[in-house]
């Protein structure tokens, strides 16, 4: 109870006050202890954690992308290089009004719709403070025009980057391929940490197949940065390891001859050294300009390429599948000799057609009136179908499939190009599982002349021809001749890879078939005799004509009446010199009509150049 008259009790008040002050002092002490405890937690217990955070704050690790390796042909001719290219780049964080800046820039430098589209696409998926290219490949005049006005555009700059360049353009484009901008699909496959800072990756061809070697190892620069990302100094630097240079086995000179000979046509030319599997020519026509893909092709141009009926983007070398036609005959003949169903002297009568017993279906020979009595040499030289119908029947599909399999048909050759397909070597099993049908005897017959289900790629045919030329040596076809870690170091030659041998019981069988193939070119009765004028070396060859369009029973194939796209494919397989083969050439001309007329001259041109270039000739 408070007293009615307020009386101050000074002594009591002093005691009360002193006790309250003491309590306050204790409270102050307790709170300070709380603060100290908190600081011990922050500075002692969690010190390491916060040190790491502080270090991460401060140090920015900036990747230094390696320089992509160069690509040369076997003689050191440059196929792919890196050229400095100037591009207009923009750091969005440093640009105040993006729309206005873009508008003002467009008045100085031509910026197209495509550029803006690309720019906006990259704007969405960039890292902070990353410069985004707005226009690529500035001309020197444009660079100068911007330099004068640079002060008006904070955050915009001209960046010099190395851009992939293909000095020979379309030449050998399907073998060399191209490197293009890394897209999301690439990121799923690539080692992201090694590609930090890298903008391009191989998309097709050797550029893709040897991406690992060409790319190199990324380097890092530890930069001290402040809170707004400005680089203050470089603390540490680990230089990137540049990608290795590649020396391909291609011979640009031969390649040019092949592509020139095939100009205006669709098809493929492959030349292989049968002694080691080195690919000297790898042409697939038509091609395209790889340079246009390096920095992103415009949608319009891409559509043009994609929709072209000539399919310039289609790599016929490893993905084009063609019925081998008569080019398969030497191999079937070899099988016949090997299984002793025929001898070099046994002969078959060809009336111009062949029928299976108990079936009145007539399997036609290309020569309606027939070849008469032919032995294996004549059958190959003149490409007699009936002889091979008969041989196929006696061999049967199983033995034929087995023996042709030794030559790698129906299997990928393992060439160092991406996307290779296996072709098709039909068998009973295949037909049962793929078509859910039994194998018909008639199918055996047409398999014997390389028609029907059988499909081969040009590279497969070339590899098989090389095996024939080397009398059974199986070398894996390859484009990589050597690697070079740096531009000053010595070449590291890739050893060729021997993957097997075609089993043969009598070596003379090779002679029989090869001699017949020599006759194809050099004998007046050979189907390719048209190319032997003035030839200085001995060439063995075999023409082939692969049917695209089935001709009904009793009708006659008349090229003039069929649309060009339905014309037969023209094929030619060859090697030379017969005595000691150094080069095997395979030519496929789509809808070319006849192997002797369209394909064989291309092979002759390539070989002529090969022997002309050869030292000592």
């Amino acid at each position: 109870m408070a007293p009615r008259t307020p009386l101050k009790d000074h002594l009591r008040e002093t005691h009360l006050f002193t006790s309250r002050v003491l309590i306050a002092l204790v409270m102050v002490g307790v709170l300070l202890v709380v603060v100290v405890a908190r600081l011990i937690y922050l500075q002692i217990i969690s010190h390491e954690h916060f040190s790491t955070l502080s270090e991460n704050n401060r140090v920015n690790i900036v990747p230094m992308p390696p320089t992509r390796g160069l690509i040369y042909d076997r003689n050191g001719v440059l196929l792919a290089q890196n050229l400095p290219a100037f591009s207009l780049e923009l750091i969005p964080e440093q640009v105040k009004d993006l729309d206005q800046t873009l508008a003002a820039l467009a008045q100085l430098i031509a910026i197209g719709e495509d550029d803006l589209d690309q720019f906006k696409k990259r704007l969405d998926q960039r890292h902070p403070f990353e410069a985004i290219p707005l226009r690529l490949r500035l001309s020197e005049e444009e660079v100068a025009r911007f330099a004068v006005n640079r002060h008006r555009f904070p955050g915009v700059d001209v960046g010099a980057r190395l851009a992939r360049d293909y000095p020979l353009g379309e030449l050998a484009v399907h073998a060399v391929g191209y490197a293009g901008r890394i897209n999301e699909a690439d990121l799923k496959v690539l080692d992201v940490s090694n590609y930090r800072g890298t903008t391009h990756t191989g998309k097709t061809g050797v550029e893709k197949y040897y991406e690992d070697i060409l790319h190199g190892q990324v380097g890092y620069q530890h930069e001290e940065t402040n809170a707004v990302g400005r680089v203050l100094r470089v603390l540490e630097r680990r230089l990137p390891t540049p990608g290795q240079n590649l020396y391909l086995s291609l011979d640009v000179d031969l390649q040019m001859v092949a592509e020139l000979a095939l100009t205006g046509k669709r098809g493929a030319v492959v030349a292989i050294n049968p002694k080691n599997g080195e690919v000297l020519v790898a042409a697939s026509l038509p091609g395209y300009d790889p340079g246009s893909f390096v920095n992103g092709i415009s949608t319009k141009d891409y559509d043009l390429l994609r929709r072209s009926p000539d399919q310039p983007l289609f790599n016929r070398l490893v993905t084009g599948q063609y019925p081998p036609g008569s080019t398969i005959k030497p191999l079937v003949a070899l099988a016949g000799l090997e299984y002793q169903e025929i001898t070099p002297h046994s002969s078959t009568f060809c009336p111009g057609w062949f029928s299976l017993p108990g079936d009145d279906h007539r399997y036609r020979d290309w020569k309606k009136e027939g070849h008469g009595s032919v032995d294996v040499r004549l059958a190959i030289m003149r490409s007699c179908d009936v002889y091979f119908y008969d041989l196929a029947r006696t061999l049967g599909i199983d033995r034929m499939q087995k023996y042709l399999g030794y030559f790698g048909l129906g299997r990928r050759t393992g060439i160092d190009l991406p996307g290779e397909v296996a072709g098709l070597l039909p068998s009973r099993d295949w037909k049962r599982s793929a078509r859910r049908q039994a194998w018909y005897p008639g199918e055996t017959l047409i398999t014997g002349i390389g028609q029907g289900f059988m499909l081969t790629t040009p590279i497969q045919l070339a590899a098989a021809t090389a095996m024939l030329a080397s009398r059974g040596e199986v070398w894996r076809p390859h484009l990589l001749h050597a690697t070079q870690p740096t531009s000053t170091s010595r070449l590291l030659v890739q050893p060729p890879l021997r993957t097997g041998k075609v089993p043969i019981s009598d070596g003379a069988n090779w002679d029989t078939v090869i001699s017949a193939m020599e006759g194809v070119v050099h004998d007046p009765g050979g189907t390719a005799k048209g190319i032997n004028r003035g030839i200085t070396y001995h060439m063995a060859g075999k023409t082939g004509t692969a049917q695209v369009f089935g001709i009904k029973q009793g009708e006659k194939y008349k090229a003039s009446e069929l649309a060009e796209r339905l014309h037969d494919h023209a094929l030619f397989v060859s090697f030379a010199p017969v005595e000691n083969p150094e080069i095997a050439v395979v030519v496929v001309v789509e809808n070319g009509g006849s192997g002797s007329g369209e394909a064989a001259p291309v092979a002759r041109a390539v070989m002529d150049r090969y022997f002309a270039n050869k030292p000592g000739s």
Binding site: A2, P3, P6, L7, K8, D9, R12, E13, L16, F17, T18, R20, V21, A24, L25, V28, G29, L31, L32, V34, V35, V36, R38, L39, I40, L42, Q43, I44, S46, H47, H49, F50, S51, L53, S54, E55, N57, R58, E224, T225, N226, A227, V228, L232
Partner: protein, 379 residues
């Protein structure tokens, strides 16, 4: 013997007289002054680093410190009964100015804390930091202690009104500081603990209601305090970066001028409200302990002065000023270390900035005046 004793006593008295003469001539409390000077020196050292070695900022802070120490010395020489006489007028003036600011704030936009008197711009809330404890102490000193409920209610009103006016500006931090300075007077005056805890419980109960009266940015601060990671680059950035700065300092610190957080601009407001983080980063736990020791010394000395004060009024004022000083220290360090939500409270005498420094030094001036104008009871 007696003569000798008298003689020695006289000598002692003379010596004492000489000392007190010198002291009374100056009216300065040497231990408090020493503590404040050491604190100011430490503050300038840290500020030099925090301001990126800006001589310019250091110069301006020196001028402010000069002003502050000047104000302290001037007030120290005014006998405490003058303060007591001026208290109602000062309080009245403060309330009027706060109302003026509020009216102008209605006219202007957003926060209106400053009053522009043409020549000087100042914050009336700074007056209130001293006027409120003075007024509450003035009111209580006339009445017997512990205070009766009716008196308590009146006293509470004198502190709540200005506190609410300041909170409306809106400056919740200062409003709370002003309120707490008044509350310290009540606590020191001997309010029953039962009442204190009842009020605290009531406050806790109405806290959710209070939430609705907070501005968006104030709510944001509370959310950020509860979970700084919820917006690490936005409102949580301050506290995350300051924790990194302090934590990475470790026991010994990174060394003076070597704090990477501060020098590479990661730490925001590093020379003002967050300067403690710079100290923690560069001088480590050792440096912080030294600073806390200085603060503790000043607070202990202030409380000692309060217990030695001779009237209820001076006792309550001295105690309240000292405890409010501690509240500054605790809130600032608590905020920088993530113990408390972010409220704009400077670290006394270390943070760069003017007005509150001068107010605080004025408070120490009053403390010195109280201590040095004691009459010797024994004589």
């Amino acid at each position: 013997m007696k003569m000798a004793t008298d003689y020695s006593l006289t000598r002692l008295a003379n010596r004492r007289h000489r000392r007190t003469l010198w002291l009374r001539g100056l009216h300065v409390d040497i231990p408090l002054l020493a503590g404040l000077l050491v604190l100011a020196a430490v503050g300038l050292t840290v500020l030099y680093s925090a301001s990126a070695q800006s001589g310019d900022m250091l110069g301006r802070q020196l001028i402010r410190l000069g002003l502050g120490f000047g104000a302290m010395l001037v007030l120290a020489h005014i006998p405490p009964h003058h303060f007591r006489r001026w208290t109602p007028w000062l309080y009245g003036l403060g309330v009027i100015l706060l109302l003026a600011v509020l009216v102008m704030g209605e006219i202007g936009k957003g926060a209106q804390r400053w009053l522009d008197l043409g020549v000087i711009r100042f914050q009336p809330s700074e007056i209130m930091k001293l006027a409120v404890p003075l007024m509450v102490a003035w009111y209580m000193a006339e009445r017997p202690l512990p205070p009766a409920p009716k008196i308590l209610l009146m006293a509470a009103l004198t502190l709540v009104v200005p506190a609410l006016l300041i909170a409306r500006q809106p400056d919740l931090g200062t409003g709370l500081l002003v309120a707490s300075s008044g509350l310290f007077v009540l606590l020191l005056a001997g309010v029953a603990w039962r009442l204190v805890f009842t009020v605290l419980a009531l406050l806790a109960a109405v806290a959710p209601v209070f939430w609705y009266f907070l501005h968006d940015y104030q709510r944001e601060r509370v959310i950020t305090f509860l979970n700084p990671e919820h917006d690490p680059l936005g409102s949580g950035y301050h506290i995350i970066q300051s924790k990194i700065a302090i934590g990475s300092g470790g026991f010994y610190g990174k060394g003076w001028l070597n704090g990477t957080q501060a020098h590479l601009d990661f730490l925001p407001e590093r020379s003002t409200d967050f300067i403690f983080a710079v100290l923690g980063e560069e001088f480590g736990l050792i440096g912080i302990l030294v600073l806390l020791l200085i603060y503790f010394f000043i607070i202990a000395r202030g409380l000692y002065i309060a217990t030695q004060a001779q009237s209820t009024f001076t006792r309550l004022v001295a105690g309240s000023i000292t405890l409010t000083f501690f509240v500054y220290v605790f809130i600032n360090i608590g905020m920088v270390t993530g113990l408390l939500p972010v409220v704009g409270v400077p670290l006394p005498l270390v943070s760069y900035g003017g007005t509150s420094l001068v107010t605080m030094m004025a408070g120490f001036g009053i403390l010195m005046s109280i201590h040095t104008h004691r009459r010797l009871l024994s004589s």
